[in-house]
């Protein structure tokens, strides 16, 4: 129900619309819920609406965190997740 997926913006259209691409599948979505969407960015789409963006650097860091696990055994891990509290 909360199905949402990261997709790449390939065209920004008037009326807060954009065309996104996922592995060759293209679809028009609404960008009314996010600010300043540009071509090349990844947005997370839910029921036809972009509800947020993907931060590529943070994504990279998360992937690195998964892998750095191997080396670093101690906690806190080297690339610690963002601490919010």
């Amino acid at each position: 129900m909360c199905l949402a997926i990261p997709v790449r913006v390939v065209e920004v259209r008037p009326g807060q619309q954009a065309v996104i691409d996922l592995a060759g599948v293209r679809k028009e979505i609404s960008t009314a819920l996010v600010e300043d969407v540009s071509v090349g960015e990844y947005v997370i789409v839910h029921v036809g609406y972009a509800i947020g963006k993907v931060d590529p650097d943070e994504a990279q860091r998360t992937l690195e965190m998964f892998n750095e696990m191997e080396q670093a055994q101690a906690s806190p891990p080297p690339a610690a997740p963002e601490q919010l509290t």
Binding site: I51, D55, M69
Partner: protein, 379 residues
Amino acid sequence: MKYIDEFRDGEVAQKIAARIHAEVQPGRRYSFMEFCGGHTHAISRYGVSELLPESVRMIHGPGCPVCVLPIGRIDHAIKAALEHNAIVCTYGDTMRVPASDGLSLIKAKARGGDIRMVYSAADALRIALENPLREVVFFAIGFETTTPPTALVLREAAARKIDNFSVLCCHVLTPSAITHILESPEVRDYGTVPIDGFIGPAHVSIVIGSGPYEHFAEEYRKPVVVAGFEPLDVIQAILMLVRQVNEGRSEVENEFVRAVTTEGNLVAQTLVSDVFELRTTFEWRGLGEVPYSALRIRSAFASYDAEKKFGLAYKPVADNKACECGAILRGVKRPTDCKLFGTVCTPENPMGSCMVSSEGACAAHYSYGRFKDIPVVTA
């Protein structure tokens, strides 16, 4: 698929799993609730639990908007279709949820109700424009992820005076449900549901941010890790929870940092509070009446409120007695504890809502995990 495939890598999963196995403390049990059905679904579909040590137990939470929809609300939608002859537009997931009188939306459709599955709230508004002589009701369900699109179409309907359109608002709120579980006697007093931490919602948190969970970490001393819906996100979150438990911490950590910020999507939040306001109470299936746990349409948009337009007064309806959905949604029982599971209750003939949505605990176990209940001999 970028940002998807990398987060489903089985080899990386093995490494993280090895870490969990190494770090769990002998003799200690770890019980974590994944609040969201999205996590429940990922755990079952990818077989995440098989990678976990015996001592780590995942408890399915109530975070499936279809599962928590009480019968009385489905009855409203059916009434709009069958009695008020409205076109009722709905997200496909709700079609099979059991309602009163042996009905469901799909059965009401077969009985002549004009009920249409839509992919997006905007489709419902389009249908209203295309059928100016018919009333069109959008049956709006969902957590904070799904609420902003509903707010957008309500605002647009009002701006364009599309007066044959209305919304049957059943949007519910995540934090109130978590509070409710933490306040429940099973968790608080008896300890029948030993929750050592939460995996926090992925897409809900994109909208509301991770901020709202800090209260739980502080007040109830429960670790929370906000995590994405991909299997690596889940297993990583479990590792992070194990570590918090081991270290005696109870913090809000954000594994889904690539999409979730502390404050969330402010555009969406503002829009939602422009259009909706808190209900003082709302019935959830399984949880009963939960105070301040849902939204209703503000009076400025009253003429687009299907409850008002069709005079739909809420009447609670008891669930099937044998159905354990309630206990399952509270984390007290598992699907296989239900006598109906897999015999009387199957996805074709669901007796409870948990057997309907693929995010429901019963459906997920039935569709993906059932083999574990029986010994399998491979040739």
